[in-house]
Symmetry: C2
Subunit: 300 residues, 2 copies
């Protein structure tokens, strides 16, 4: 199961009880934190996210609304005597920012903490059942989006066929991995005669902060769910571009061109009280759209 | 008028809807922020503190629960296009911590921002009507308490006497400043013949984080209101000392020995849900005590 829970859907200055960017992605029982604006640890308590379950944290870029809550969360992990390893991925200068703050406080984290600077696009985590990658976006400073990809499921046995070809049951597991079966007489039972393709793995992509940029399309192509920022409504397209952000119409166009299945929009400017117009404007171009609302879990 | 509004009364990890340390001290229409734990800017919104009114910020020490909200507040000041000067006082390494975070985000603050490293005890701000000083406390890392002192009011005219000595009214103002009046014939009307002492200025002292340490007594002697931390109840005195914190009984004893008029207690450990026992234990030793409650303003 792949899902994302929104902890903060606002940009920049907190407003209208909306919080800066943070979300928790769960895949196959693992929990990943994506961005960590100020107050994220409170949002985790508010929405009953078990902090100890977080094994990896991904920081898209070093604007405060995406990471000012990180040092507080790490500090709390320490005070709560966390023991599990923690992996952090983010732009390289993050290391120095954290190090100096831990050092002046004379804080030694009681768990193994590994920082992995993101240097270029590619795969960051590669596990048996899923992988996590990153891609650059076009923002004011170095910024990355993230893709969470379930791996293709194992091939499915065709029960009648495996019986027909008299394949012993101890070999079934290897059939699901795609192996052919070789009989004692040396003849080969081709894998595709007795199995069929497993279900395609689901994909969730988080596009971080970005202005309209078609270069992200190949990275999110056909994804099941894509979070794209819509900091501004359509009438502020000029401001969006000047500030390296996107409008509703631009997010919808990217979703359409990338043929994604569903679009989730967020990172709303603090100038907007109501979000209704965001949904209206995006849906006019790309129908299968939802507002990213805090505390809500979106299953992919 | 001297008053303090509590924005956060908890220590370390946020818990039971209590927030990390922060308070706003107002003197004579000026607003000063003392410590700035994570989420302080939200607490300011919650309790309708006008952020733009804050002219000076004082950070007691560099443990996260006292300053992790500072960079977010500065950043918001920038995004809100603040124009007024801002003065920050705190331990010297704070400069580097802020600088690096502003630099990686390519943030240029639109207002004049002056950092004043605290290097030793003494007067930090000296204005016509008040002064603000600092003193060291005994904590795990370099830590300072702060005193907010109204200056003695101007001397008060004795109406009958000034008439009796026929002092012209244009000189009244100078009489309140303590000057003698010299008549045309060279004879002197002594100031104390025609005026009396003005009201004594009020004093508020914030003792930051500290273990029991009688060296702070001279700095808070006879103060009208003193905030002293009570991280733990009496039965955890050993833990308090080991962690450079104080118990209820220790705070009460300091207040008693310093002959302060009123004691405010806070910085409660996250292990306590109810605060009733804190009030009971302190009051048993020092009666005029109040719990520091978030959102409440205590007039000195």
């Amino acid at each position: 199961m792949l899902a994302v829970t929104i902890l903060g859907n606002n940009s920049a200055v907190p407003a209208f009880n909306r919080h800066p960017t943070s979300q928790v992605v769960t895949i196959d029982g693992n929990s990943f934190l994506v961005d960590c604006g100020e107050g994220t640890q409170n949002q985790m308590m508010e929405y009953k996210i078990r902090r100890s379950k977080i094994s990896h944290i991904f920081i898209s870029h070093l604007h405060g609304d995406h990471y000012f809550g990180l040092i507080g969360l790490l500090n709390s992990f320490g005070l709560l005597n966390r023991q599990q390893d923690l992996h952090l991925f983010g732009p390289a200068p993050l290391q120095e920012i954290l190090d100096i703050q831990l050092k002046v406080a004379d804080t030694v984290l009681p768990f193994k903490f590994c920082f992995h600077p993101i240097l270029k696009e590619g795969i960051l985590v590669d596990e048996e059942k899923f992988s996590i990658g990153c891609f650059p976006t076009d923002h004011h400073i170095e910024c990355y989006g993230f893709t969470f990809m379930e791996k293709k499921r194992a091939r499915r046995l065709l029960p009648e066929k495996v019986r027909e070809w008299e394949i012993p049951s101890h070999f079934y597991e290897r059939l699901t991995q795609g192996e052919d079966y070789i009989r004692k007489d040396g003849s080969i039972i081709k894998n595709e005669w007795v199995t069929e393709e497993g279900a395609k793995g689901k994909v969730y992509a988080f596009c971080a902060d970005t202005k309209y940029d078609e270069r992200i399309i190949p990275h999110i192509k056909s994804a099941d769910l894509v979070y794209h920022e819509t900091t501004y409504l359509n009438n502020l397209a000029e401001r969006a571009t000047a500030r390296y952000h996107s409008t509703t119409g631009q997010a919808a166009l990217i979703a359409k061109k990338a043929a994604v299945k569903k679009l989730l929009i967020g990172h709303f400017s603090s100038k907007y009280d109501s979000l209704d117009e965001f949904e209206n404007e995006v849906s006019a171009v790309f129908e299968n759209t939802e507002l990213a609302l805090e505390g809500v879990t979106y299953r992919v």
